[in-house]
């Protein structure tokens, strides 16, 4: 009996392995919609100005954000920029994901992530190397993917500078991003980890969820630059260091000491609650 069982098990395992796709362990293609049970206010309307809580930013990022005037978005050079790859999962946009298949081998060459109001983002699955350090950077960067079991790991380089929050917090073009996509039935849990040697003290880790929406259609979104505000050519909106009138907005809205709103790695950890208590006058 034992003699017969082993070959059968081996045959079953072999058959199961043969049935598995060579490259993709879990299909992630299709239409997906953001699940915004958490952080709806940040993801749709956006965070308050000066609200950097829980963001592991350094002094340079804080200084940059305090110079930032939201009116800069009206400049011609800024109008049609898409959200960056490590921010767009925290925005309100819907993605659709399509596989690119090699017709000869039927291997997966790439996934293409496209979002509302964004650019095509190929995730190369064919083992191609990342470009050299002096090649151009773009909004989507250069991404390669690999399967770790049923988890898709994506590594992205060659990003243009962008923002990690829509209140002026910068992310530099020296940053690299690692993502993990985990599909459980009709939900993808999407983890984004940003490593930025210029503006972050520690990696910024965020997770978001997306629901499968087969009846969704993401429309095209062509963008044309227009004159939004009549200004002198070359005008760049910004504030003088230390004189941003909105720097206290979040502290006032939440009735917090301003130090609690300024971000930094320590604000990510539970121990910071004690620090806030110490900062409140009279405690």
């Amino acid at each position: 009996m034992r003699v017969k069982t082993v070959p059968i098990i081996v045959a079953l395992v072999a058959a199961a392995l043969a049935a598995r796709p060579a490259a993709a362990q879990m299909d992630i293609s299709g239409q997906w919609a953001p699940v915004m049970d958490e952080d709806r206010d940040e993801r749709v309307s956006g965070p308050e100005l000066g609200e950097f809580m829980g963001m592991p930013i350094n002094d340079a990022a804080r200084a940059r954000a305090e110079l930032w005037d939201s009116s800069i978005q009206s400049l011609a050079e800024w109008q049609c920029r898409p959200h960056g790859v490590d921010y767009i999962t925290r925005g309100p946009s819907q993605p659709f994901i399509t596989p690119e298949i090699d017709p000869a081998s039927r291997n997966l060459i790439a996934y293409h992530f496209e979002w509302l109001r964004s650019v095509d983002r190929p995730i190369y699955m064919d083992g191609r190397p990342h470009p050299g350090p002096n090649e151009a950077h773009n909004w989507a960067g250069f991404s390669t993917g690999q399967w770790i079991g049923d988890v898709l790991r994506i590594h992205t380089t060659h990003l243009k500078e962008d923002y990690i929050r829509r209140n002026g917090l910068p992310r530099s073009d020296r940053a690299e991003v690692v993502e993990y996509l985990i599909r459980n039935e009709d939900v993808i849990t999407w983890t984004t980890i940003t490593y930025d040697p210029v503006y972050l003290e520690e990696p910024l880790i965020r997770t978001s969820e997306f629901q499968w929406r087969p009846n969704q259609q993401v429309p095209p979104y062509p963008c044309t630059v227009v004159t939004e505000v009549n200004r002198e050519p070359g005008f760049v909106p910004h504030y003088f260091p230390g004189e941003n009138p909105y720097a206290r907005e979040a502290a006032d809205v939440y009735n917090l000491p301003i130090e609690a709103t300024r971000g930094g790695a320590e604000t990510m950890y539970p121990e910071f609650k004690q620090r806030i208590q110490e900062l409140i006058p009279g405690r």
């Binding site: 592991p56 002094d59 340079a60 990022a61 200084a63 940059r64 110079l67 800069i72 400049l75 011609a76 050079e77 800024w78 109008q79 049609c80 920029r81 898409p82 650019v119 190397p129 990342h130 470009p131 050299g132 350090p133 002096n134 090649e135 151009a136 950077h137 773009n138 909004w139 590594h155 380089t157 243009k160 500078e161 530099s172 073009d173 020296r174 690299e176 690692v178 980890i193 490593y195 040697p197 210029v198 503006y199 003290e201 520690e202 990696p203 880790i205 963008c223 630059v225 050519p233 070359g234 760049v236 910004h238 003088f240 260091p241 790695a265």
Partner: protein
């Protein structure tokens, strides 16, 4: 999970440059052309140049001092800047290797006549042509790493002469031609550079151009007044849609402003805004017109936009400090570049953030 743990999960391989350089070139020896009278000898060297294909015949060479742009094709080679003197051999070796790769990737022209007298297989077997020479160098300014390789690279090249172009003058064809603003010539003479490094063709108006197509397109030189100096030239390749800026735009440093020779912060900002005016992105402000910066990676108008914003914000804040009566020492103590130093400060080099802020201050302070 701590940040270090996550960082450790990025493998060493991911944290290093991944793709082998497009062309990694090592100088192959002493240039035979350096035998020309007065030409400096270029020694063999191990320094590598990274060659980045930009578009059409245009390449960007990184590692030879400031970035060097090259148009490489059937007409020969045109360089925008010549890099630093000690890297001239490596720049020439990189050009040569790029030419070899171009030839390897090219199918020979098909025979369309004389089938009974010509064997098509010979086109493959005998198709190798010696790479064509450097014919033009354009200097974007007189900075050391813009003109340092002039003499050696000029010596390796040639100017085709004859007819109405000084064919009877014995040395008219010696070496490549060098184009620049006339102030570049003045600077090199002041410095006592060797004659072979001097521009052979200078201009003094707002723009200049090579009189004919080179590698299939025109080559425009446009003066950027009072930018990093009084001698700045922007070079535009219209068919390839590539701009070469020189030192007023960089991915790794603040703009290097030579106040002593006519540079100014407002001229730098004007030059950056000029690039934004003529550049047209392909889609969503990226791609389209490509920009070869003075230093660092290949760029486009979105990258120039970020740099223009940075330079303008620093300039305006220093101006405000001057208006409030701050001394240079007070301005330096405030460090108006602190939001950008992680991107552009070069504290171990010869152009620090303080050097830049000092230049901005001096450029804006009222005349005494």
């Amino acid at each position: 999970m701590g940040g270090k743990d996550l960082e450790n999960r990025m493998t060493k391989q991911e944290l290093k440059p991944r793709r082998p350089k497009t062309v990694t070139c090592v100088s192959v020896g002493i240039l035979t052309a350096a035998a020309l009278a007065g030409a400096p000898r270029v020694e063999a060297q191990d320094d590598a140049i990274d060659v980045v294909r930009v578009r059409g015949p245009i390449y960007m060479l990184v590692g030879g001092g400031g970035n060097v742009a090259a148009s490489i094709g059937d007409d020969g080679v045109l360089l925008v800047d010549s890099g630093s003197a000690d890297m001239a051999g490596a720049v020439l070796a990189a050009i040569r290797e790029t030419q070899e790769l171009q030839l390897m990737g090219r199918d020979p022209d098909p025979l369309r006549w004389g089938a009974e007298g010509r064997l098509s297989v010979l086109a493959y077997r005998d198709g190798y042509q010696p790479p064509k020479p450097v014919r033009y160098i354009i200097n974007t300014s007189a900075a050391e790493d813009r003109v340092g390789g002039n003499a050696a690279i000029r010596a390796s090249g040639v100017t085709f002469v004859g007819g109405n172009v000084a064919g009877a003058i014995a040395d008219a064809g010696v070496g490549a031609s060098i184009y620049a603003r006339e102030e570049v010539l003045f600077r090199l003479v002041e410095r006592g550079e060797v004659d072979l490094a001097y521009p052979t063709d200078t201009y003094y108006g707002s723009s200049y151009k090579i009189s004919h197509h080179f590698n299939g397109e025109g080559v425009r030189m446009i003066h950027m007044p009072q930018a990093t100096s009084d001698a700045d030239t922007l070079v535009y390749f219209p068919r390839s849609d590539v701009i070469v800026t020189g030192d007023f735009f960089s991915q790794t440093t603040y703009p290097i402003i030579d106040l002593e020779h006519g540079g100014s912060i407002d001229g730098v900002i004007d030059a950056l805004n000029y690039v934004l005016e003529i550049a047209i992105p392909e889609f969503r402000t990226e791609g389209g017109t490509m920009v070869v910066p003075g230093r660092g990676r290949l760029s486009d108008s979105a990258d120039v936009g970020y740099y223009r914003d940075m330079v303008t914000i620093v300039r305006n804040n220093v101006q405000e400090m001057i208006d409030r009566g701050w001394s240079l020492e007070q301005v330096l103590a405030e460090r108006p570049t602190k939001a950008y130093d992680g991107l552009y400060a070069n504290e171990s080099g010869d152009w620090t953030a303080d050097d830049f802020v000092t230049a901005v201050y001096r450029s804006l302070e009222p005349a005494q």
